[in-house]
Structures are given as structure tokens and as C-alpha cells.
């Protein structure tokens, strides 16, 4: 495995692990960009998805968005904002949020719209108001899909944050872009290896989130099917 030996040779150098451009700082930067963007995307997409799923209004829009957004070239969006906004945090924040929203929105919508009518009838029969129905029945039942949406959103945000190093953002992508610019394949490979590990760690973290956030009754159901 030539890739691994390149990556390992670079990673084991102590110099890589210290200072403002050191690996720990870069990992924290990457987590900060990813976390902040995903949080903003979730704050926009989850309420909107619940609203559309609950009322059914705007459903056609969401279904069409489900696939169309994939056509957006990540690199193009980043570069476009970098050129128009210059050195503003918005230049990376907007693309990261924009690419994080669709999977969260679509999955939240699917989850809420897919709640069995029997559940809703039962909730109404128990005297729940519309708001209680949403909060106590529809959202918990939709939770597995909402988390799936967040997980998929995280995949796209991590990938985009890596590419954003090209427009000057910090994070692990820096090693890749800087290494490519100076023909230092060791640095490029080391950076790529760290990106892969970070992406996988984020996914594993979501398995934990899923355990915590999905109601026990639904977990049981999921296991049976």
C-alpha cells in the first residue's frame, strides 16, 4: 500500500503535530466548520421539513429538490462566493450550509409525511392539539429519518469543507491543497488519510446520536423489520 506508507511517513513526523498549522488545530478547525454549518443547516431544514411534512404544502418542491440539488457543483459554488464575497466567513459558510440543507430537509419531510394516519388519528382522539401531535407523535416517529438526513448532510458538509481549503479555508483540506501546490505527495496523502478518518468518525458519532434520539419503541420496531 504505497498510499499508506506515504501517509504514515508524513503523519509520524512530530513537526506535523505542533503549532498553528499542526494536525490537532486543523482537526478542530474542520470540526468547527462542519459542526457550525450542520447546525445552521439543521435549524433551517428540520423546522421547514416538519412544517411541509405536517401540512403537505410545498411537498412537490421538496420532492423535486430531492435530486436536483446534486447537480450543484461544489467547487463552483465555493469559488463563486469566494470571488464575489472575498475574505468573508460567509464565503465558506453559505456553500456548506446550502449543501447541508437538502438531505436534512428531504429526509425530515419524508419522515413526517410518512407517519401512519392511524397514529395521527389516535393522537387527535386523545385530545392532542396540532402542536402536541407534531411534538409528541410525528417528530419522534420521524426521528430515524431525521437523523439519517443529518448524517447524510454531515457527509456532504465534511466533503465540501475539505474542498473549501482551495478558497483559503483552514482545516484538513489545507494539507491536501498545499501539498498539491508544492508537489509534496506525503503531505497530500497524510491530509487525505486524516480526512477519511474524520469522515468515518463523524459517521460513527451519528450511530451514537441515533441510539440516544430514537425512541425505545421505534428501535424495537426497527430491529424486527
Amino acid at each position: 500500500m504505497r498510499f499508506l506508507s506515504y501517509a504514515w511517513d508524513w503523519l509520524k513526523e512530530p513537526a506535523q503535530w505542533h503549532g498553528p498549522g499542526g494536525i490537532p488545530i486543523r482537526i478542530l478547525e474542520q470540526l468547527y466548520y462542519t459542526g457550525l454549518s450542520l447546525l445552521i443547516a439543521a435549524l433551517i431544514a428540520i423546522p421547514l421539513g416538519i412544517l411541509i411534512g405536517h401540512t403537505g404544502r410545498g411537498a412537490a418542491l421538496v420532492v423535486n429538490l430531492a435530486n436536483a440539488w446534486r447537480a450543484i457543483p461544489t467547487l463552483g459554488l465555493l469559488v463563486l462566493l469566494a470571488v464575489t464575497l472575498g475574505f468573508s466567513p460567509l464565503a465558506w459558510l453559505i456553500p456548506l450550509v446550502v449543501l447541508g440543507i437538502p438531505p436534512i430537509l428531504v429526509n425530515t419531510y419524508e419522515g413526517v409525511a410518512g407517519v401512519e394516519p392511524e397514529f395521527k388519528d389516535a393522537a387527535r382522539g386523545m385530545g392532542m392539539t396540532s402542536w402536541q401531535q407534531v411534538r409528541k407523535v410525528e417528530v419522534p416517529v420521524a426521528m430515524p429519518l431525521i437523523i439519517l438526513g443529518l448524517r447524510t448532510g454531515a457527509i456532504f458538509v465534511v466533503a465540501t469543507a475539505t474542498i473549501a481549503a482551495y478558497i483559503g479555508l483552514g482545516g484538513l483540506g489545507r494539507y491536501i491543497i498545499d501539498g498539491l501546490a508544492t508537489d509534496n505527495y506525503g503531505e497530500v496523502a497524510g491530509g487525505a488519510a486524516l480526512v477519511v478518518l474524520l469522515a468515518l468518525a463523524v459517521q460513527v458519532a451519528f450511530v451514537g446520536v441515533r441510539r440516544l434520539a430514537v425512541p425505545a419503541g421505534l428501535r424495537q420496531q426497527a430491529r424486527q423489520t
Binding site: A71, P73, L75, G76, V83, V195, V207
Partner: protein, 224 residues
């Protein structure tokens, strides 16, 4: 800006987008058939694809550089793998969507396993498989431009060149052409599906694009 190179760049981008999606399909169909026939085989495949799908494309390109160099192959292989991740669940869902009475009718008419698969089950699965192929192709066309960062030419060239020269028009043309290329290929796949499934009603709810579930379920326990 220099328009003379644009047709070449469109061709390169189309190649880097369409080839991986079709290669993914060629691998996903037999793999999906195997996963439906031997059920125990599906969960590990699903876990593998969900892990693979989480890896950023740029990192995957770089992993391949020592083996395939700065060639098209370095971009085609990761995009094929991503296509595979999207397509395998769709092939499996498509084959599982065949109603049991249809299967039984085919058997009663004397169809063997292979003939039933080719003439009945796969055609019934076509709409769901093509829904996955649309996602795979649109994603590949759009992701191909990232290959420009490692020097593999595509419409991404206009984006990178526009950035370096601070030339907004070139960036917009590059991005716009990528989106247009992706949407044209998407439209062509809708037409292919209509030709392959003439029995489906033309104007109905089903004409809406089918939402494709993301291939990221069971990473460790908790099936969807």
C-alpha cells in the same frame, strides 16, 4: 474568455460523469441480484457501501494517485464506487418490489429462474433502478469537476481558471454548463425509463422524480 476549448471540456466532463454511473450500474445489477437471492449477503454490502459513501471524493482521488497517476482513471474509480453505493440499494429494492403474484404467475407459465429474472423481475425493477441511476449520474457529473484540483480536466477547469484570474464570467459559465449537462443527462434517463417501461401511465403522480433513500443505513446495528 476562450470559448474554443469549451466543447472539449464538456466532452471530458460528460465522460467523467457518464462512464462511472454506467460502470456502477454494470456492477450493481449482479451484486443486487446476489443480495436478493442470498439475504445474509446484503447487510455487509450495505455497511461497506455506507462507509465508502462517507469518504469525501477529493480524499479518495488522492488515495488512488500512487496507483493510477493523474489520469481519468483516478477520478472514474471513486465516482464508480459512489455510483455503486447509490445503485445497489435501488437494485435490491427494485427486485423486492416485484409483487409475489407476478412472480408466481411467471413460474406458473413455465419460466425458469433465469428467464423469470430477465423477462419479469428486472423489467419490473427498471423504474427504481433508473431513479438510482439518475442520482448516480447527476452526482458524478457534478463531482467530476473536483478532479480538476488534482489536475484531471473537466468543466471544473473553467471554475479553477476563473478563480485564479478572478474572472467571474468564466466561473459562472463553468458552473452553469455543469448544471446544464447534469440536467440534460437526467432528462435523457427519464426518456430511457419511459421507453423501457411503456406499460406505466405517462401522466400521473408517478411522473414525479422518485425520492431515493440515501445509502447510509446500518453502519453498526439498527437497520432502517
Amino acid at each position: 474568455m476562450d470559448w474554443s476549448q469549451v466543447p472539449q471540456l464538456i466532452w471530458e466532463n460528460a465522460y467523467l460523469g457518464i462512464v462511472p454511473a454506467l460502470l456502477g450500474l454494470v456492477i450493481a445489477v449482479p451484486l443486487g441480484i446476489v443480495c436478493v437471492r442470498w439475504k445474509w449477503f446484503y447487510p455487509p454490502v450495505l455497511t461497506a457501501t455506507s462507509i465508502l459513501y462517507a469518504i469525501p471524493s477529493l480524499a479518495l482521488f488522492i488515495v488512488l494517485i500512487p496507483y493510477t497517476g493523474l489520469t481519468d482513471t483516478t477520478v472514474v474509480i471513486p465516482l464508480t464506487l459512489f455510483s455503486l453505493c447509490v445503485l445497489v440499494p435501488n437494485v435490491v429494492d427494485g427486485l423486492r418490489s416485484v409483487p409475489e403474484p407476478v412472480r408466481q404467475a411467471a413460474t406458473a407459465m413455465g419460466f425458469g429462474t433465469l428467464r423469470r429474472l430477465v423477462q419479469v423481475e428486472l423489467p419490473v425493477a427498471v423504474p427504481i433502478v433508473i431513479a438510482g441511476l439518475r442520482v448516480a449520474m447527476v452526482s458524478s457529473i457534478s463531482l467530476a469537476s473536483v478532479g480538476q484540483l488534482i489536475g484531471v480536466s473537466s468543466l471544473g477547469y473553467l471554475i479553477v481558471d476563473g478563480y485564479q484570474r478572478d474572472f467571474l464570467t468564466e466561473i459562472l459559465v463553468g458552473g452553469g454548463l455543469i448544471i446544464a449537462l447534469a440536467l440534460i443527462c437526467d432528462l435523457l434517463l427519464v426518456l430511457v425509463r419511459r421507453l423501457l417501461t411503456p406499460w406505466r401511465p405517462r401522466r400521473s403522480r408517478q411522473e414525479l422524480p422518485e425520492v431515493v433513500a440515501e445509502p447510509v443505513p446500518a453502519l453498526a446495528g439498527g437497520a432502517q
